[in-house]
Symmetry: C2
Amino acid sequence: MNDIAHVTPTFEDVLAAAARIAPHAHATPVLRSRTLDALAGCELHLKAEHLQRAGAFKFRGACNAIWSLDEATAARGVVTHSSGNHGAALALAARTRGVACHVVVPEGAVAAKLAAIEAYGATLHRCAATIAARETRTAELQAQLGAELVHPYTDPRVIAGQGTAALELLCTPERFDAIVVPVGGGGLASGTALSVAARSPGTRLYLAEPAGAAETFASLAKGERVTGFTPDTVCDGLRGTLGEINFRMLRDHGAQVLTVEDADTVAAMRLFWQRTKQIVEPSSAVALAAVLKHGPLFAGQRVGVVLSGGNVDPDALPALFARA
Amino acid sequence: MNDIAHVTPTFEDVLAAAARIAPHAHATPVLRSRTLDALAGCELHLKAEHLQRAGAFKFRGACNAIWSLDEATAARGVVTHSSGNHGAALALAARTRGVACHVVVPEGAVAAKLAAIEAYGATLHRCAATIAARETRTAELQAQLGAELVHPYTDPRVIAGQGTAALELLCTPERFDAIVVPVGGGGLASGTALSVAARSPGTRLYLAEPAGAAETFASLAKGERVTGFTPDTVCDGLRGTLGEINFRMLRDHGAQVLTVEDADTVAAMRLFWQRTKQIVEPSSAVALAAVLKHGPLFAGQRVGVVLSGGNVDPDALPALFARA
C-alpha cells in the first residue's frame, strides 16, 4: 500500500491537477436547454463529461494520477481493477505518457468494455469474479511488477482530478445556487466538494444516488460509513462501495444526498436524449433525475449538474428503457 | 400558387437568409473525432445540425421563409403538409414571429411527432393518408385562410435557408476537398450547391442517398427527373420525391450521388453514437456512411459532412438496429 492513499487531498491539489491534465483532457462544454429549464423550473447548466475523452469524467482523475508519477514509478507501470469507465480511462491516460497499464478484470465482464480497455493499449489480467480474487490478483501484480495501484475513487490523485470538472463549471461567470453530481464510490463527489468549498462556499452540494444503492445516504444519515449493501440499480457506474476517505470528505463538507428510483433515472435519460440528442449513461442521468424529482429544492435557481459519462451499449438500451 | 415558387434562388439569397435567421437559429458546432478520422481515412468536419433548434437543419429554411413574409402575408399565416421535421421546424419558426401555422397531417402519422408540432403552437389539420387528400386539404387552407404555402424543399426561401448550414461550414478557416450531404427532396442538397459554388468552387459536392430511394441517382444519371419510385429505406426523412427545381440545381452544379445501403447507414449511426455520444437520425447517418463506404474517394482529404438531424424515437431504436 502506498502512503499517498492516506493523504486527504486539498483544493491546491485540484488546482495542480487542472494544470497537469490540461494538455490531455478536454475542457468539456456546458450545455443549456430551454426545454429542460422549463421542465425543471430552474436554470440548468449541464457539464458535459460524456464528451470527455474515453466518454466519462474518469479520465480526469486517471490522467492526474498518471502524470503525478515520478519517472521511476512511471517506468514500472500502473495497475487497477475495474472493467468499467475507470479501467478504460486509466488505459488511455497511461497511453498519453507511454506508461504500462495493467487492468485486473473479473470473469464475466462485458466483452465490449474489455475490448475498449485493450484498444487503449492496456494489458488485461483475468481473475475469478469475487472481490477477494480481484484484490489478490492486483496485489500480486503490484508485488511482481512494482506497478503503482491507482484505485478508482479512493486515490487522492484521482479525487483531485475529478474535482477539476466542478472547478471548470465554477470558473464560468455564473454564480450557482446548487451543484448536483452522482455518487457511487465517491471520487467525483468528494473532488467536487473540494472545488465547491474553495470556489463557491455558498453553493449547496447535492449527491444523486440510486435508491437501490443508497449507502451514501445511509452513511451520511448515520454519521458513519455503512457498508455491506447489495446494489440493485441500472446505474452500473454507481454500484461501488463508498470509500472511507470519500465518506469523510463528504460528511465534513455537509453534502446532502437525493435518492432516485431507477425508473426516474431512465426517464430522465430518455428526455435528455430527445431534447438534446446527447447520450448519457444512467449513472449520469441520475443527477438530472434528482433535479426533476426534487423541484422545490431548486425552484428558480441556477443549478450545475455534472453529466458524468456517456458509455451506453446500444444493444442494452431496449432492456434499459423497459425499466422506465 | 405563389409566384416565388418558380424563382431559382441564388447565393445572394443564401447570404440574405443567413442574416435573416441569425437571431433565431443556432450557428451549430462543427464536431471532430480522432477515432472517426482514423476509421474514415480522412479528416472529417461534422456540421452538427442535429443540435439545431427543433433537432434538424429544417429550421433554417423554415425560419428564412417565415421572416421573408411581408406583414400582410404574415398576418394570414402559413401552411404546409409534413408530419416530420419540416412541420415541427415551420411551427417553431412561425412561433418566433407570432405567425399562425397550419400543418396538414395524414391519418396514421406518428403521434409523438404530431404532439411535437402542436407543442410548438401549430394547428393540425388531419386528412386521409393519400397525396391527393393532402394536397386538396392544403389548397383548401390556402384558399380559405389566405395562408402562404411553405413547401418543405421546393420553396426557394427554404432552399436558401438550408444553404446557410454549408455557408457556416465554409466560413471556417479550413479548405474542404469535398462536402457530403444527404439528399431526399433536395432542399438541403440544392441549398448547399449554392454555397459551395460561390464560396468554394473547387470543393466536390456529394449527395448521400439511400439505395432504397435512389431517385436522385437515377435522375442525375439519366439527365432528367425520374419519379414514381416507391421508397424502401429506414431514412424516413429521405423518402420524399426529388423536386423539379432541386433536380435542375443539382444537375447544373454537377453534384454526384453516392448510394448507401440501410445496413451501412445504421452501422454508421451506431458508430457515431458510441464514439461521440451524439444521436443522429438515419437520414443524417447516411452521409457519414457514404464517406466510410467510399473511402478511396476521400483518402487523406478534408471532408465536410452535414449531420442533418437527430430526431429519433427511442422506442423505434431496437427495430432500427436490427437492420444493421
